[in-house]
């Protein structure tokens, strides 16, 4: 494989620091083995380049040519009052908070009361979690190079275990802060979410840098949804202009489970979402929704996969994007329906508005259907705003600027209907309104 020379330095740095990293960890042999295998995958494949079909429109060049510190410094210098605004505060929640990759007990609120809402580092090292770790850790994901890189270095992140029949009593916020106090920082958080049969959980995840040093986050989340389980996952991506995020999320769904992932991408330098759903049982419902509103030279890439492996399942994908200035978007939605997976309904839609003629979006559905009894629809639109609607609004006294903003707001806001946490919904609504300059002189 031809690895671009510019990639060498970061890759080499990672490979050599891996040895030191491994020596200093008190993991079981089985974990060490997983990690050794993972670093080999990364060593072989390296960072993806635009020659990879899946990375045609997203280049990591500018990211990997930087030099990063691989360990953050955590001196707990972050005061709650300074970061309060990054949390959802108007409802009670559990919180698992990290600063530069290290757990912040001061900002967190965890539990072991019937459910485990705590740290992956504990789960990876303490015997009482061993059976769950053996069963699920590194079992759900696809072993691509970035996920493998994360696996090799995985140590810290959220560990959520919801046993059979339990519903977590309040939403869980997972927040990763980056202070980048020293210099550029690379972070590799790893989350494991296991939701057993008939269990339920709501999770809100956010990555937030607190100053303008470049941060490169390569995050992996594994989610297991047992029979009849319900998982409701929200990703808030509204980071600073120097922060880049590659989010790799892998979801294993068992019979009659429902998993929804909403991704709100409003800021950051480069954001790539690799969202993979594997339907391993019948009567699954997978919901993938996204709102992207970006400007300047920001880039957001949604790379989704729904793999229908069993009959009688559904998937619903609805992604909306609004692109201003020179921002760029990518939507690559892959749906695979295996030959035994009959009676599948798979919907996919990706609608975009280009506000500026310098903005662009590449939208590509990829359907690989091997069953014959399948209802599959996909649609992609790239449009400007409806001029007739603008005129209509003007005749009611709503001016051009306000009318445009309101139309974009309405366009994006439609996706929020399925958000199940009302306070989160109104928070996102306000974020959208702010971004678009809509004066919400009304309750929504």
């Amino acid at each position: 494989m031809n690895i671009e020379s510019r990639n060498m330095s970061l890759k080499d740095k990672l490979l050599s620091s891996y040895l030191t990293f491994q020596e200093n960890q008190d993991f079981d042999n089985s974990i060490h083995d997983i990690k050794d295998a993972a670093i080999k995958v990364f060593e072989e494949k390296g960072f993806p380049t635009r020659k990879d079909e899946n990375w045609k429109y997203t280049s990591l060049n500018s990211l990997v040519k930087e030099d990063y510190s691989l360990v953050g410094r955590n001196d707990d210098a972050v005061e709650f009052r300074d970061v309060k605004k990054f949390f959802l505060n108007d409802i009670d929640t559990y919180k698992i908070v990290f600063i530069d990759g290290k757990y912040s007990s001061y900002l967190s609120e965890t539990t072991h009361d019937g459910v485990d809402v705590c740290l992956l580092s504990a789960a990876l090292t303490k015997p009482k979690y061993k059976s769950v770790i053996d069963k699920y850790f590194d079992k759900i994901l696809k072993k691509d190079s970035l996920t493998s890189l994360n696996t090799a270095f995985a140590r810290e992140g959220a560990y959520i275990y919801v046993p059979k029949g339990k519903a977590v009593s309040k939403p869980i916020q997972i927040v990763h802060f980056a202070t980048g106090v020293e210099s550029n920082l690379m972070l590799q958080p790893r989350n494991l979410v296991v939701v057993e049969e008939n269990a339920e959980v709501q999770i809100i995840e956010r990555h937030q840098s607190l100053n303008s040093n470049p941060v490169f986050t390569n995050s992996v989340t594994e989610i297991y949804a047992g029979n009849h389980a319900r998982v409701d996952y929200y990703k808030i991506q509204n980071d600073k202009e120097q922060a880049s995020l590659i989010d790799n999320t892998h979801i294993d769904q068992q019979t009659s489970s429902e998993v929804a992932v909403h991704t709100f991408s409003f800021g950051g330098k480069l954001t790539r979402n690799n969202l993979n759903f594997y339907q391993n049982g019948e009567h699954n419902n997978s919901i993938l929704k996204g709102v992207t509103i970006i400007e300047d030279k920001q880039h957001v890439d949604h790379n989704t996969l729904v793999h229908h492996k069993q009959p009688n399942c559904e998937s619903h994908q609805d992604y909306k994007g609004i692109f201003d200035d020179r921002s760029t978007g990518v939507f690559n939605g892959k749906v695979i329906v295996d030959s035994i997976a009959q009676k599948i309904n798979a919907y996919q839609s990706n609608n975009n508005i280009l506000v500026s003629d310098k903005a662009s979006i590449n939208s590509k559905p990829q359907l690989e259907i091997f069953a014959d009894d399948v209802r599959c629809s996909h649609g992609c639109t790239i449009g400007q705003l409806d001029e007739d609607a603008l005129f209509y609004m003007k005749t009611r006294g709503i001016g051009e600027k306000e009318g445009r903003a309101l139309l974009m707001y309405a366009f994006a806001n439609n996706v929020l209907e399925s958000v199940k946490i009302p306070q989160l919904k109104s928070r996102i609504t306000k974020l959208i309104a702010n971004k678009l300059g809509v004066n919400l002189g009304f309750e929504v």
């Binding site: 007739d388 009318g403 439609n414």
Partner: protein, 250 residues
């Protein structure tokens, strides 16, 4: 209030309006009738400020001031309202949010603060009762999936909320059932006063039994070919347009 002088307008190379003269005073109701494609909707759009149409000659004065150079929203702020023949659907914006925005934008243009929420709510309640509009309806996306009649009723609800000086109702009666026609007409009549005026565009005499016009004009091929009192509408209903057309070509 409104004075249209020798108005010529069209789109691309097509002339649609060919020299329209019309004067509407405060307190009056004018009806405009005429065959399909004669230019009635074009005339209303041009008054409301649709930029697609090019005015090639003539002028439109509103309260003595030419409004041709004004944007549609500016005209709305001055008190011009157009009820659309085909109202536009706006998914994702509720009727309530839309009308609130419209009212507050209009107030802002006049240098006023936003309308206090309690006053807004009271007004919405009052006007929706007047037009017998169900509460649930107001939280639906504007015009999306509304029936033809519901759209029209909603247009008049907005008119009632905005209280314009000049209301142009483009075929508001089409799509309304018999009860709705009565309710909507009642809504329009409630707005009437010596300070404002209404232009109703219709194909049917029936509406004019509820909203009784002071003048009836017949528009054919971009020109007003005949004007008269309310009895002209009856005559048209009886005889069709051929006789007016015949009369004018002589």
């Amino acid at each position: 209030m409104l004075e249209i002088k020798n108005l010529n307008a069209g789109i691309e190379d097509k002339d649609i309006l060919r020299g329209i003269d019309l004067k509407v005073n405060a307190g009056e109701v004018h009806a405009i009738m005429g065959p399909n494609g004669s230019g009635k909707s074009t005339l209303s759009s041009v008054i409301a400020g649709k930029e697609e149409y090019e005015v090639t000659d003539g002028d439109i004065l509103f309260e003595g001031e030419s409004i041709l150079e004004m944007d549609a929203d500016e005209r709305a702020h001055k008190g011009v309202f157009l009820s659309f023949q085909y109202p536009v659907e706006i998914p994702g914006v509720s009727v309530t949010n839309f009308i609130k925005t419209a009212i507050n934008q209009t107030r802002k243009a006049k240098g006023l603060e936003d309308m206090p929420a309690s006053e807004m709510l009271k007004k919405i309640r009052e006007k929706s009762e007047l037009l017998e509009i169900d509460r649930k309806f107001l939280s639906r996306s504007l015009n999306e999936g509304f029936s033809g009649g519901e759209k029209k009723r909603n247009e008049i609800f907005q008119m009632a909320m905005l209280e314009p000086k000049l209301a142009i109702l483009d075929e508001t009666d089409s799509g309304l059932d018999i009860d709705a026609l009565r309710i909507v007409s009642n809504g329009v009549n409630k707005l009437r006063s010596s300070d404002n005026a209404v232009i109703v565009i219709t194909h049917y005499q029936r509406l004019l039994e509820y909203i009784v016009p002071d003048f009836v004009h017949v528009l054919v091929n971009g020109k007003i070919v005949k004007s008269g009192g309310k009895e002209l509408a009856l005559e048209l209903e009886e005889k069709g347009y051929d006789w007016v057309k015949a009369e004018t070509t002589v």
